[in-house]
Amino acid sequence: MKADIAVVGSGLAALVATRTLQQAGRTPVLIWPGLSSLYFTYATVDVLGYADDTTAQPVEQPEAGVAQFIADHPEHPYAIAGLDALRSGTDVLTEWLREAGFKWQGSLSRNLLLPTAIGTPKPCCLVPDSMAAGDLGRDEPIVFCGFSGYEDFVPELAASNLTRAWGRGDRWVRALRLALPGFEPGRLFTSIDLARSFENDAFRREVASSLRAVLDDSTVRIGMPAVVGLTHDSDVHARFESEIGHPVFEIPTLPPSVLGLRLFDRLRKHIQETGVEMIWAAPAHDAELSDGRCRRIHLKSAGRDQPIEARSYILALEDTVDGAMRAGVHNVVDPFFHQVLAQHALPTERTDESLFKPQPFASIGYRVTNRQQPTASDGTTLAANVFVAGGAIAGYDPVGTKSRGGLAIATGYRAAKEAMAA
């Protein structure tokens, strides 16, 4: 198969890159290697939550924060992609979300502080409307509402932690649980089952009415697990709010994360509807190089090898979870050019003793040129028409700074721009 530009990836970096190409009038092919687990955990677009791994002080203004971060870390993927790529990529994404029917809010000028499912405040940049009422910059008291028999959101845990972190004066936090019609104790159900039920008007109204009956304070807002609608999030959420008469905000839960499903499902479908060709669930496993350019990449699809020949390529796999790198016992290898990206005598060298500290492994990736082209170990450019975005770039570790979304957007946008110029 021949293509103009081939984009490989299933996460935000690949989507932003593809959309950028599409908007510029190019005809990208999106090669989607299948659902990754991170697909299920994504909920908000975090641009920069903390200035480094060690501070507990949130960044208030993500754009200014990233500018400072770039100044402090000139080798970092954010610095390579550049602040402009973050700004323009964010514009592409927010415009796209609107066109695809999402109602989102937030901007690069301010982080919201939202409670997580353990009740810890977390800085987030772009968020669905359905989460925004959780902003802890607001003062209304919060009631966390969980459901009997649903273990993936524990309102009592969230309320206890948030009380310590945020509660004072009128800012109080309480927990309650509702029994949901049809979800009797002893029944096995997940957030997906609940989300589907919330799209049913009769079910949702019954929940709203039993919730109204136990709320005795007109000023409260309700924090709920993110199960208010499976696909048409904004509508279901808005209707539910008016049925209760209180602001409602969703909180992302243990996987399967309905918020992640809504986002990626809709964007993927929208980009197909608007004419982008997609090759579904085909992991790329090889690339052919000659004269400093990539000639073909090879997909594993339906039991046979499928070569793709494009003018340029964007490798936008987000993580080892979706195959950005393959970690053997000693060597970490890239799946396209089979370069050894890192070697470890002991597997423990890839990790910190604590799960809660930065893991050396997370920063492994391609060293890239200032145009995001992958380089060989001697520093020479591997392929002039290949551009890397997302987690396969060396130094890309969004975990501690809570910058997964912003890094994906910036590197995805920049890769698209470079691919068009190549």
Partner: protein, 536 residues
């Protein structure tokens, strides 16, 4: 006056201590068990879970082999549901192995171990994963898998039904004495710091690798050599039966299928202290390479974690080291040997022979106390019922299939999807005061032991600390983090392939979606005076 009193204090909550506790109460003797960690948290819970037919010892240690034969048969009667009757193969893969064979066959005959020579074709028909290198194979039907956690819990619960008490996280720091007679123990609660005393007529030291430290408090010597063994857990079984190398026992020559996993074992390195158990990379490599000599798929299977345990080998004064040392055990009567009345130790041995060890030391102590009731632990099942249904182990056999007993559907909510643990399986343990950390819940239910290594269930368990134990969120969250960190310590040693990808999901979930790292930074101090991770 001591804070409380009983007949006998048993120190040590491994299989031996639990067996002693049950034996005492079955003879009508009041008893309290004190354990400085959790039940089965020392040697027992860190074993590979092989119920030995005796084949492994029949050449070098005939006495130990004969004990394994007899006790294995008894355990199949009294502890049916803690055992999976897998049977085992002894396979040779080198010429040297083949030279061992005649001695092995002779040893099995002497010890009375059933042993059948199979053609390699027949062995491979039964176990298709046997490697191409396998040259000969023996079938020993009495090898099996013994779940060490259920075994200990089964003994303890049986003793509790007869009035015994169990105190976990309770370390003995001293003894009460009248002259040269021990009259009680001084204990320290590791989680609350509380000191208490328990008066008694006799103390039994069943602390295995820690025996020397306990005895030292009374200025008597017990020489136990701590020998470390490292094991690697694979995410599926690879074989139906236990696979042993048919050779002189050595490193990495056993693969034990246990429930949903396979355990590769093990090494034998002398360590300076039973709690200094570093997992060395060469040991992990050795387990995988040696395992691969017997079974295909070992190198490509998903390794979930590595762990280390410690053997309590009793030093009989010989020159023997590590593997050469006997797996036999000894009862030490300190009154006779050291002139310290009311104190005895049980040392050496192995999990397979725990019951016999318990019987021997209980015989001694009962005699001293003037109790003549005979031991009945070889006859009465652990669940104290005649039927074979063990209440300890009501887990859905298969999702969606009605359970054979009781009629309820097995398609039920799960706390741990990897290990099929249901809410009711954990709820009962949240009510048990001896359960004090989330790790204790894991040992009793297997929650968190599957491929995801607690990424999901840790949140649900933390929630239950708040709803069922009325803990503050900050303490519950810290307990969740501690639980994940304990799992992480084992995962780090096999950090490649699928388990590495899994860890990235875990980090994405807990650090990004929950912001747990910042929660831990801002809640450095425990939110109350209760120790971190401790449950009320």
């Amino acid at each position: 006056m001591p804070d409380s009193s009983t007949g006998v204090v048993v120190i040590g909550g491994g299989s031996t201590g639990a067996g002693v506790l049950r034996d005492l109460t079955m003879r009508g003797i009041d008893a309290v068990l004190v354990e400085k960690g959790d039940l089965a948290s020392g040697t027992t819970g860190r074993s590979h879970g092989l119920l030995h037919s005796g084949g492994r010892y029949c050449v070098n240690d005939l006495a130990a082999a004969i004990e394994c034969v007899e006790e294995g048969r008894i355990l199949r009667r009294i502890a049916r549901t803690t055992i999976e009757d897998t049977g085992g193969y002894f396979v040779s893969v080198t010429e040297e192995d083949e030279a061992w064979e005649p001695r092995f066959v002779e040893g099995c005959a002497k010890a009375g171990i059933s042993c059948e020579r199979l053609s390699v074709e027949e062995a491979r028909r039964r176990e298709p994963a046997l490697s191409k290198q396998v040259r000969t194979a023996f079938w020993l039907p009495e090898d099996g898998h013994l779940d060490p956690f259920y075994l200990v819990v089964g003994n303890v619960e049986s003793a509790r039904r007869r009035g015994a008490q169990v105190r976990t996280y309770t370390e003995v720091t001293g003894f009460l004495k009248e002259g040269k007679r021990v009259t009680g123990v001084v204990t320290h609660d590791a989680l609350t710091g509380e000191e208490t005393t328990i008066g008694c007529q006799a103390v039994i030291n069943a602390t295995g690798a820690w025996s020397g430290f306990v005895a030292k408090l009374l200025e008597v010597e017990v020489k136990v050599v701590p020998v470390k063994g490292v094991m690697v857990v694979l995410s599926h079984r690879l074989a139906h039966a236990a696979i042993n190398r048919c050779h002189k026992p050595g490193d990495g020559d056993i693969v034990v299928p246990g429930l949903s996993v396979a355990i590769l074992g093990t090494t034998a390195r002398r360590v300076p202290h039973p709690e200094v158990l570093p997992i060395e990379w060469d040991e992990v490599q050795l387990m995988i390479n040696e395992g691969a000599m017997m079974l295909d798929g070992v190198t490509t299977a998903r390794a979930m974690r590595a762990y280390a345990g410690v053997r309590p080998l009793y030093d009989l004064g010989a020159e023997a080291e590590g593997r050469e040392m006997s797996r036999n055990f000894a009862v030490i009567d300190h009154e006779q040997r050291d002139g310290v009345a009311g104190f005895s130790s049980i040392v050496g041995g192995k999990v397979t022979t725990y019951r016999l060890m318990a019987e021997r030391i209980t015989d001694l102590v009962a005699r001293r106390l003037g109790v003549t009731t005979a031991c009945t632990t070889a006859e009465v099942p652990l669940n104290d019922r005649e039927d074979e249904l063990d209440q300890l182990r009501q887990r859905p056999a298969q999702m969606g299939v009605p359970k054979p007993h009781g009629g309820e559907l097995a398609l039920q909510p799960l706390v741990c999807e990897c290990e099929l643990v249901r809410p009711q399986d954990v709820t009962t343990w949240f009510e048990d005061p001896a359960v004090r950390t989330l790790e204790d819940i894991r040992r009793r239910t297997r929650t968190g032991m599957g491929p995801c290594q607690a990424a999901i269930c840790s949140y649900r368990l933390a929630g239950r600390l708040v709803t069922e134990r009325q803990q503050e969120g900050a303490i519950a969250t810290r307990a969740m983090a501690d639980f994940l960190e304990t799992r992480w310590r084992g995962v780090r040693h096999v950090f490649w392939g699928s388990q590495l990808r899994q860890a990235q999901v875990t980090a994405g979930l807990h650090l990004e979606l929950f912001n747990l790292d910042r929660q831990l930074m801002t809640e450095k101090e425990p939110a109350s005076t209760e120790a971190v991770g401790a449950l009320r």
